[in-house]
């Protein structure tokens, strides 16, 4: 149902391409898409509105960097603004002395507090601390049992008061207990509660008052919709949160709740839960989250990397060549090498929106570029300029020279042929079609699925007549 922002931006790219400067009008166009994407990612509608305004301000009148499309620049502005809003993130847990450091968890029912307690215990243990897990959810049936099992799994100490009905008392007792068993961190699990349940919210306040937690974390389900701001705000008003832990992040939710919660509470997202295992707690990264909300892979890093590696002028020249279909094998190699400089091929392709998911088990390794290079270097200048002159005997010579198989040589030529045909097509395209193209490339196995750039169907060998025709054409 919900297409990713990638596709939408591609549309915007398409409309924008060719214009040199970001104007108020085309920013507004783009913002309509941004707005929709954010809403589909469950960012609160008011947050979306404010966000859109600030992006428009930032984007107005920005000069477009040479060779970069305005659309891409726009993505970067939007992305950076998202990162700004969600960061900076400080995931350090500040331990106090004298011990114990008290951490309290709070949140709605079913948000994942108990499991997160276990994960946090693990995390804290890795920092050389000894956590005590305290069962203050006396509401839900078997919640105490659940925490006790989780504590066992985490090999952490566990505390409960048998028969006690009042969580405030359990919390208070636990602090004394921590000292007696040598625990320096106390993690208090509390019952899930609705932020509009006055009695329960009061109870949460009382627990907080009784133990004076050094940190209070709101545990929030990443799949939450527009209501995330209501509950987060209420919890923050009553408990003065220190941070937020987003759970169930291993779902395919876009996690707009993160942005919403951050912007209404001002409290940072500290951790994300990414699985049911106790190890599955990670520190929050605003930039990754931004990419996810926008549903666009790590597009921005790609743009940045590309900016570093390709200088604008030569890229423009290349484009011209491509457009005329005058790409030589030499240029092809040059491109490949530049791509290689940018990092491992697959990683780069993965960053392209739409391609990442298509990649599957397609194997492109850097070794192939080396092989490609070896083959091209064994060619004469004439062969590189016009690979169509490579006949059987030339092919054998090149293969011998490069230590490759003759079929590899024809595979490369074939790949080059289709690539240059596509590039020619592509140079006349807007960004949208280019992305589609990139996608197709992923599906097409440009480099021949099995690793080497072998083509299944062997390249067509020119007949004598065809070769003669070609030569004649060339002479003209």
């Amino acid at each position: 149902m919900f297409e990713s922002l990638t596709n939408k931006f591609n549309d915007v790219f398409h409309r924008m391409s060719g214009r040199g400067r970001i104007t108020e009008d085309n920013v507004k166009d783009a913002m309509r898409e941004v707005r929709q994407a954010l809403l589909e990612a469950d960012v609160h509608y008011k947050v979306v509105r404010e966000f859109a305004e600030s992006v428009v301000q930032k984007a107005k009148g920005q000069e477009v960097i040479k060779s970069l499309h305005p659309g891409q620049l726009m993505v970067k502005i939007v992305h950076d603004e998202l990162v700004n809003l969600m960061g900076p993130v400080d995931t350090r847990i500040y331990y106090v002395s004298p011990a114990p450091t008290v951490i309290m968890m709070a949140g709605l029912q079913g948000s994942g507090k108990t499991t997160t307690c276990g994960k946090l215990a693990r995390f804290i243990q890795r920092q050389g601390k000894k956590p005590l897990l305290v069962a203050c959810d006396l509401q839900r049936p078997a919640a105490v049992d659940q925490l006790s099992v989780v504590a066992g799994q985490a090999e952490a100490q566990f505390f409960t008061v048998e028969g006690e009905k009042n969580p405030v008392r359990v919390a208070r007792e636990s602090i004394k207990h921590a000292a007696s068993v040598g625990c320096d961190v106390v993690i208090i699990d509390t019952a899930g509660r609705l932020h509009v349940d006055e009695e329960m919210m009061q109870q949460a306040e009382e627990i907080a008052k009784a133990v004076n937690p050094h940190q209070i974390y709101l545990v929030c389900d990443a799949m939450t919709g527009q209501d995330a701001v209501n509950s987060a705000k209420a919890f923050n008003d009553r408990l003065e949160l220190d941070g937020v832990i987003l759970t169930k992040f291993d779902s395919d939710a876009r996690g707009g709740a993160a942005l919403s919660v951050k912007s209404v509470t001002g409290k940072p997202i500290k951790f994300i839960g990414v699985g049911e295992k106790l190890e599955n707690l990670e520190e929050f990264h605003a930039d990754r989250m931004a990419g996810r909300i926008l549903g666009m892979g790590d597009m921005v890093s790609l743009v940045e990397k590309a900016q570093e590696q390709f200088d604008a002028e030569s890229a423009a020249k290349m484009q011209e060549k491509m457009a005329k279909g005058k790409l030589s094998l030499e240029d092809f190699l040059g491109q490949m090498k530049q791509m290689k400089k940018m990092g491992p091929m697959k990683e780069i392709l993965k960053m392209l929106p739409g391609v990442g998911s298509q990649l599957g088990d397609m194997k492109i390794d850097d070794e192939e570029i080396d092989h490609m290079e070896a083959i091209i270097h064994s060619m004469t200048k004439a062969e590189r300029e016009d690979p169509s002159i490579i006949d059987n005997s030339r092919r054998r010579r090149i293969a011998r020279g490069s230590g490759m198989d003759p079929s590899d040589v024809s595979g490369l030529v074939k790949s080059f042929d289709s690539a240059s045909a596509m590039m020619k097509q592509m140079s006349g395209m807007g960004m949208r079609d280019r992305m589609n193209f990139a996608k197709q490339m992923g599906q097409m196995d440009l480099f021949g699925g099995g690793g080497k750039f072998k083509v299944k169907q062997r390249s067509h060998r020119l007949t004598k007549k065809e070769r003669l025709d070609k030569k004649k054409k060339k002479r003209k």
Binding site: M1, L39, G110, R140, P141, D252, A253, R254
Partner: protein, 306 residues
């Protein structure tokens, strides 16, 4: 009718905040105004705020615009009634109750993502069926989550129904197998199967769920008679993905919309109806076994807009 009245009261109460927020604002927003772009924009935003989703909101907006052009409505004040009628069409009269087996045990498989409210909702259904004089049995097939079996056991005791369980960590399919055998042998009217929460993106767990379903259908003819997806009312647009994935794995027959007693508007079920044709069968309105009501679209929409 008394039952209905109670249902309506509860649902209305559960949705009171929603309604107040949505409607009080909405009424004043609409009163005496022309139906123009600005008004449509604001309206659309409000529907989005109710988690109805961008597409659904856009569709309703378009419907509204058409109606205005065709002079079926003229002023802002008529908008609410129009939307109400429009939304009610999303849930045409059809059987939103449980499809019971003609003879023998009715099996209801309950599934959903982690923490959505499955176990509690099962307690609620067990309670409901018991009130209807049925003999109920629970299958504790969440053998994964810590203390999940204990949780369901406590509910079984409180509600006064039987429970079949295996060891924690045992194969959930084998627990379900045992439960089917037991339910048949004991002539239970209803067998409610609790399953472990799982994210719809975890393929192996979704396969495990399909396997559980297969065991049920092999053991009892025409079972499972219902497959309920428990959906947290606070869920945003991801609910669509959830519903799709669970439907693909176990052929969901209806939705149990839990936690509608908060401020979440549950508007996602409108989007869900727009997107898939899954009926909402029950709503959960609290943490106690009695806090359940059959879904009534009239009332749901009424509570949203009136």
């Amino acid at each position: 009718m008394a039952f209905f009245k109670k249902a309506i009261d509860r649902l209305t109460k559960g949705l009171a905040r929603t309604r107040e927020k949505f409607v009080s604002g909405l009424r004043s927003l609409l009163a005496g105004r022309q139906i123009d772009e600005d008004l449509l924009d604001e309206l659309e935003e409000r529907m989005i705020a109710a988690d109805m989703g961008v597409l659904t909101a856009a569709k309703l907006r378009a419907d509204l615009q058409t109606a205005y052009k065709e002079r079926r409505i003229a002023k802002g004040d008529e908008v609410i009634d129009f939307l109400k009628e429009e939304l009610k069409k999303y849930w045409p009269p059809e059987n939103r109750g449980i499809r019971f087996a003609e003879t023998g045990t009715t099996v209801i498989l309950v599934a959903g993502v982690n923490g959505s409210g499955k176990t509690t909702s099962i307690a609620k259904l067990a309670h409901l069926f018991r009130q209807q004089g049925k003999k109920v049995c629970l299958a504790a097939a969440d053998t994964f989550r810590a203390a999940a079996v204990e949780q369901l056991t406590i509910w079984a005791e409180r509600v006064g129904v039987e429970i079949v369980k295996g060891a924690s960590g045992s194969d959930p399919a084998s627990v379900v197998f045992d439960a089917c055998q037991a339910a048949r042998a004991r002539h239970s009217d209803v067998l409610l199967v609790d399953t472990a929460g799982r994210l719809h993106t975890q393929e192996h767990l979704m396969r495990e769920l399909s396997k559980i379903r297969n065991v049920v259908s092999k053991q009892i003819p025409n079972a499972p008679h219902e497959v309920l997806l428990v959906l947290d009312a606070t869920t945003g647009q991801n609910a669509i993905n959830q519903a799709k994935a669970f439907t693909a794995a176990v052929d969901v027959t209806g939705i149990f919309l839990a936690k509608l007693d908060g401020t979440a508007k549950g508007g996602i079920v409108v989007a869900l109806r727009n997107e898939l044709s899954l009926p909402v069968k029950f709503v959960g309105l609290g943490e106690q076994p009695a806090d359940v009501e059959p879904f009534n679209p009239e009332e749901f929409v009424e509570a949203l807009f009136s």
